[in-house]
């Protein structure tokens, strides 16, 4: 069985489009709304979904995702609950790739083998553990491989060419390029500065490259879509959802927020 992530990026490449990859924290603002929000994301032109697994100590995240994580934990969201959400989503969507993004300790507690088995059964296609570089992933990697789940890896502006090479050999699915030195949601993105490092990165990998951190609107998404295979939008989207008064309102906000972004990305494609 091929991975949904491969199929999706192949199709996008054929169509000359960049992937729109929204990130939402599972359970924020309400655990019962997340599956519906995921469907709304897909209806609004998303190609791949990144789901944040809430963690108490998200050291690489800015205030927006920290707070979303805290709210979700307060509402009782666990890794088990995240997998339940994916399962619910899969009842109506068998095609859209889903990647879990978070920190390692909840998986440590769940058990590597048990997690890989259950995540695969629920319909997870990849995981990105922010605090687990390839060097520390050896054991977990074996379990993920066995169940056809890709380890998605980060590449940073400070990553050396030698390391890019090593990471791309370890990674599966796509590479997530962090657009600047900072935390999620910060306001530092300068699209022009992406050209050279993305060029360098592509010389070391055949994997698609998505870019995230600091992309917040149609303009920045369009600029990044010219250079990358995927555009990740997290904090700006979560801000839209945080105080949504109802599930229907949350879905409306998703559509209103993503529609112009999708349009701008498609218009800007090289």
């Amino acid at each position: 069985m091929t991975n949904r992530i491969d199929r999706r990026f192949e199709a996008l490449a054929g169509a000359g489009r960049a992937a729109l990859i929204p990130f939402v924290t599972v359970g924020d603002p309400d655990p019962d709304w997340t599956a519906g929000i995921m469907h709304a994301l897909v209806e609004s032109g998303s190609d791949l979904l990144e789901l944040g697994v809430p963690f108490s100590d998200p050291a690489a995240d800015g205030p927006v995702i920290q707070l979303a994580s805290e709210r979700a934990i307060e509402r009782g969201v666990t890794l088990q609950g995240v997998l339940d959400t994916v399962r619910t989503f899969r009842e109506k969507d068998a095609d859209t790739p889903v990647v879990l993004m978070g920190y390692l300790n909840p998986i440590e507690r769940y058990g590597h083998a048990e997690f890989a088995r259950d995540a695969s059964a629920a319909g997870v296609d990849g995981i990105l553990m922010v605090d687990c570089p390839p060097e520390e992933m050896v054991h977990l990697r074996g379990e993920l491989d066995e169940h056809g789940i890709y380890p998605i890896c980060l590449v940073a502006p400070t990553t050396t060419p030698e390391r890019m090479e090593r990471i791309s050999r370890q990674a599966g699915g796509y590479l997530y390029y962090v657009s600047f030195k900072g935390i999620t949601g910060a306001d530092q993105l300068q699209e022009a500065s992406l050209e050279q490092p993305l060029h360098e990165l592509r010389s070391h990998t055949g994997l698609p490259v998505a870019v995230g951190f600091g992309i917040k609107d149609a303009q920045s998404a369009a600029a990044v879509a010219r250079l990358a295979d995927g555009v990740v939008i997290g904090s700006a989207l979560i801000e839209q959802l945080a105080d949504a008064p109802s599930e229907a309102a949350a879905q409306d906000r998703v559509r209103d927020f993503l529609a112009p972004i999708r349009k701008a990305m498609d218009n800007s494609r090289r």
Binding site: E70, G182, I183
Partner: protein
């Protein structure tokens, strides 16, 4: 018995190249921080064997910190405990009042060698923040200290001292608003300002090389103590006792004795309201292995792997993880770890103050409390050496509040 201190411990207690102590330690950080850790590792391993660097460090420890600190025979405390002689390694007499300065002097010197102009630090009790602000002032560097809002309240004197030294104290309002959250926030700062900023971590936790580096800079405590015991008493201590939050003062004392198989090592964790209540900060006694703040180690989390809020009367021990080398020393059985409750620590705080005229930090009071219990089980010709890691001046407000006294 050689009087030359065992500077290099047996190989089995050194980590591998990626900083693994057995299954513990490692480099569990975001890719955005990998380069910074690589750069630090390269610099540290280069300079730690450099004669000029070490000479400057030794000079700073002697003339600025005030080393060596004495070991002191606590005669009246020993009489009350009844049993082995209790000796105190007087780290409370260091400049700024705790062992923390040993590490910050070392890391600040490294920052200087690496050409970093800005220093950041996290702090719990404020001792490490104070020690960082102190060395930053001396070297004319900008200094930002991250401190949980809860800790800012309970350690207001140290907050003011840091400000007097020219540091900016940034309150951390996320999570439990204590030490662990201050660490998260400092990491976020470092990711963002990695080019000009040196992050001085205050304990033997974090990703490689921090656990090794912080241990090495604190190991001057154990090297001195070992030499002093042999020179002044012609014997090694039978047991070492030190409190463990992250574990830097304990490892600093223990490490040079690791090769001395007859020396027992006891780390004392904060049992808070009691280990059975769940309201404590005893990750080695009551936690389990997981991944937090850059390393695999024992930690306190819930069934879903979320890090839980800890409790201790002493802010410096109020941390849900512990240095990975301690996790390894526990599993290998080379060191043992016990818990002391808030109440027992408070009692020891008063006993040491009244019996010896030494006001200990609440953190160190945990070690004193256990040392008294341990001494009572031992023979009068034996020696328990306690790392009196800090002085209690910073805690008088907390003690007064706990006892319903308004100052």
């Amino acid at each position: 018995m050689s009087i030359e201190p065992a500077i290099i411990a047996p190989d089995s207690f050194e980590p591998d190249e990626q900083g693994h102590f057995g299954p513990y330690g490692g480099t569990y950080v975001s890719e955005t921080l990998i380069h910074a850790h690589e750069e630090l590792k390269e610099a540290y391993y280069r300079w730690r064997t450099d004669d000029e660097f070490m000479a400057r460090l030794d000079a700073d420890l002697a003339h600025y910190v005030g080393r060596p600190s004495p070991i002191y025979f606590a005669r009246r405390l020993t009489e009350v405990a009844g049993g082995a002689r209790i000796m105190l390694k007087r780290e409370d007499l260091n400049h700024t009042g705790a062992h923390k300065i040993n590490n910050t002097v070392g890391q600040a010197l490294l920052a200087e060698y690496m050409g970093k102009s800005r220093i950041i630090a996290e702090t719990g009790a404020g001792q490490h923040g104070l020690a960082s602000a102190t060395v930053a002032a001396r070297l004319g560097k900008e200094c930002v200290v991250y401190m949980g809002e809860v800790d800012i309240h309970r350690q207001s004197i140290n907050v003011f001292r840091m400000k007097l030294l020219g540091a900016e104290v940034r309150p951390v309002t996320s999570g439990s608003k204590t030490l662990k959250d201050a660490l998260n926030e400092a990491m976020r700062d470092w990711v963002t300002n990695v080019d000009d900023t040196f992050y001085i971590i205050g304990t033997v936790a974090g990703a490689h090389p921090y656990p090794v580096m912080v241990r090495d800079f604190n190991a001057v405590v154990g090297r001195e103590a070992r030499r002093q015991m042999l020179e002044q008493y012609d014997t090694l201590p039978d047991a070492l006792v030190a409190c463990v939050g992250g574990g830097s003062n304990a490892l600093g004392l223990f490490h040079p004795f690791l090769g001395d198989a007859d020396v027992r090592m006891v780390g004392v964790e904060a049992a808070g309201h009691g280990l059975h209540t769940g309201e404590h900060a005893a990750s080695l006694c009551a936690g389990r292995p997981g991944v937090l703040h850059g390393c695999r180690t024992y930690l306190m989390d819930d069934a879903g792997g979320q890090i839980v809020h800890t409790h201790s009367v002493s802010a410096g021990l109020d941390y849900p993880g512990v240095g990975p080398e301690h996790a390894w020393l526990k599993d290998t059985g080379r060191a043992e770890y016990v818990g002391i409750t808030d109440d027992d620590a408070m009692a020891a705080f008063h006993q040491l103050t009244r019996l010896e005229g030494i006001l200990p930090a609440l953190e160190s009071s945990h070690a004193v409390a256990h040392a008294m219990k341990l001494a009572a089980e031992m023979r009068p010709d034996q020696v328990v050496l306690v790392n009196l890691s800090g002085r209690g001046d910073k805690d008088v407000q907390t003690v007064a509040e706990l006892e319903g006294i308004s100052l």
